[in-house]
C-alpha cells in the first residue's frame, strides 16, 4: 500500500508502517555514510554531541556525485546499508527513527529497530539519476573534508522508498528469501 509521509517520522508514524509498504517521503532527511558514521561514533566516544539533531531523524546512506551548476545535487542513489550496521544501533538508541539505504541488515540492527520502534527503508539501487530529481535542496552540514562522504541536509519531495524492516521486525528481504526456498 502507498503512503505519503512528511518528516519528522515520529514513533507513531514508524509504528504504522509495514514491511512491503511503498512510501513517498517529503521533508528533511540527513545524508551520512561510512566515514561520517565513524566520525560521529568517535565524537560520541569522546563525550561530544552529534552534529545533527538525532531525535526522529531520517538518515540516507548515500554519497552523491557532484552537482552541475544550478542543480541542488548530482546522482544520488542509496549505498549498501550493511556497512553502517556497526554504527546504526547506537544512533537508533539515541533517537534516530529511520534509515534509508539498500541491502540486508544485521540482527543487531533489526533488534535496535524493534526496541526503538524505528524503520528501515530501501531506495532503488542504481536509480541515482531518477532519485536525484526528488531532491530539491542540499546543504552541507559538516565534515566537508570528506568530499562525497560529508554530512548533508536534504529537502526532498515524494522520495520513493520501500519499507524493508518495520518496527515489529518484519523483514521483506527475509520474507522473499523464504518464499523462494
Amino acid at each position: 500500500m502507498d503512503r505519503y509521509l512528511t518528516t519528522p517520522i515520529t514513533e507513531e508514524i514508524a509504528q504504522s508502517l509495514h514491511a512491503g509498504d511503498y512510501v513517498y517521503i517529503s521533508g528533511t532527511i540527513y545524508v551520512a555514510r561510512d566515514a561520517a558514521h565513524k566520525r560521529m561514533a568517535e565524537a560520541l566516544e569522546r563525550g561530544e554531541g552529534l552534529p545533527i539533531p538525532i531525535q526522529d531523524a531520517a538518515i540516507y546512506y548515500m554519497g552523491p556525485s557532484p552537482a552541475r551548476d544550478g542543480r541542488p545535487i548530482g546522482s544520488a542513489g542509496p549505498t549498501t546499508a550493511s556497512r553502517m550496521d556497526k554504527y546504526a544501533p547506537q544512533l537508533l538508541d539515541m533517537g534516530q527513527r529511520a534509515m534509508i539505504g539498500k541491502g540486508k541488515r544485521s540482527q543487531e540492527v533489526i533488534d535496535a529497530i524493534v526496541r526503538n520502534r524505528a524503520v528501515y527503508f530501501a531506495a532503488v539501487g542504481g536509480a541515482g539519476a531518477l532519485l536525484s530529481k526528488c531532491i530539491h535542496k542540499s546543504d552541507l552540514v559538516c565534515y566537508e573534508d570528506l568530499g562525497a562522504e560529508a554530512i548533508l541536509r536534504l529537502e526532498v519531495k515524494d522520495f520513493p522508498v520501500i519499507v524493508i524492516i518495520d518496527s515489529q521486525g518484519n523483514n521483506l528481504y527475509a520474507k522473499i528469501q523464504n518464499s523462494n526456498k
Binding site: 549505498t79 530501501a122 530529481k133
Partner: protein, 281 residues
C-alpha cells in the same frame, strides 16, 4: 614497422571514455534491461525495472550519472608490440585521463589513497590498470569503472580438482545467493576459472567487460554459462532483491590453464550498471 602514438591521445580518449561510461550504458546492457522489463512477471520487479529504464533515460538526457557510484576506474590496455609511446609516461597519461574525466565529467571522487589511512585523493585516481601486450600495432583501451556495492560481494574460491564442475556451480551460486540485494540485482556475473589466485580474478573482471549477448567460444563453457544463468534466475532474488525472475542478465565465464592441484574460481559480481567503453587507437 614501429607505430608511434602520442600519450596525449591516450589521455584524451580515457577522459572521454570516463564520461561516456557514466552517462550512457553500452547497447548490449540497455537491450538486456529492456528485454527484462518486458519479460519480468513479478509486479514489484517489473516496476523496479521500469524505474531503471527511466533512470537511464534521465541520465543521458539531463547529464546526471546513471549511478552516483561512478566507480574506481579499471582500465584494460591491450598494446600491440609494434607500438611506441612518445611524449611522456603511458601510465601517467592514463591516470591523467581519469583525473580529467572525473573532474570535467562531474563524476564522484570515490578513491582513497591508502586503504588503512583512507584519505580521499580528490580526483578518483589512481585507476587500476591491466596491461596486455599483443601482436601488431593497435592499442585497444577498455574503461570499466567499477562500483563497489557489487565489487564487495565478489568472491574467490580455491577449489580442489575433486570438487569438479559441481563444485564450480556451487561456488557461483553461493556468491550470488550471499550477495542477494546488496549487489543491486539484476546482476552481471563474471566468472574466472583456472589460472592462479590473481589470474582467475582478472579473468572474472575481464568477463564482465564482454558484451552480455556474447557467449564463450568454448562449447562446454557456453553450456555452463547458460546453465548458471538459469540456476541464478531460479533463485528468485529479483530486481533490487525484492523478488522476481530477473536476478542476472548474463553469466560470462573465462577460463585459463591451471595447476594439477588447483581449481581456482573467481566470481566478480557487477550490478545492472555494468559500464564498459572500448576504443581502438
Amino acid at each position: 614497422m614501429i607505430r608511434t602514438i602520442a600519450v596525449e591521445e591516450v589521455t584524451r580518449n580515457i577522459r572521454e571514455m570516463c564520461i561516456e561510461a557514466n552517462y550512457y550504458l553500452s547497447s548490449d546492457m540497455k537491450a538486456a534491461l529492456d528485454d527484462a522489463a518486458r519479460a519480468e512477471q513479478a509486479p514489484l520487479g517489473k516496476k523496479i525495472l521500469g524505474q531503471l529504464q527511466e533512470n537511464l533515460k534521465i541520465a543521458g538526457e539531463e547529464m546526471i550519472p546513471i549511478c552516483q557510484d561512478t566507480g574506481m576506474a579499471v582500465v584494460f590496455a591491450e598494446i600491440g608490440q609494434d607500438v611506441h609511446f612518445e611524449g611522456g609516461s603511458l601510465e601517467d597519461a592514463i591516470q591523467e585521463g581519469v583525473r580529467q574525466g572525473y573532474t570535467e565529467g562531474f563524476l564522484r571522487k570515490s578513491v582513497v589513497g591508502d586503504p588503512l589511512l583512507r584519505e580521499n585523493t580528490r580526483d578518483n585516481t589512481p585507476a587500476v590498470i591491466h596491461y596486455q601486450v599483443t601482436g601488431g600495432d593497435k592499442v585497444t583501451l577498455t574503461l570499466a569503472p567499477k562500483g563497489f556495492g557489487s565489487e564487495n560481494m565478489s568472491r574467490i574460491f580455491m577449489l580442489k580438482p575433486a570438487d569438479g564442475i559441481e563444485g564450480v556451480k556451487d561456488a557461483i551460486l553461493t556468491a550470488v545467493r550471499d550477495a542477494g540485494p546488496n549487489a543491486c540485482p539484476p546482476m552481471v556475473v563474471g566468472v574466472g576459472i583456472g589460472g592462479t589466485f590473481e589470474k582467475c580474478a582478472l579473468l572474472a573482471k575481464q568477463a564482465l567487460a564482454r558484451p552480455v549477448n556474447e557467449s564463450s567460444p568454448l562449447p562446454h563453457i557456453r553450456e555452463l554459462e547458460q546453465e548458471m544463468l538459469d540456476k541464478i534466475n531460479a533463485l528468485g532474488i529479483g530486481p533490487g532483491g525484492l523478488g522476481g525472475s530477473t536476478t542476472a542478465f548474463a553469466v560470462n565465464i573465462n577460463t585459463y590453464a591451471t595447476h594439477i592441484a588447483g581449481l581456482p574460481v573467481a566470481v566478480n559480481i557487477c550490478c545492472h550498471v555494468n559500464r564498459h567503453v572500448v576504443r581502438e587507437l
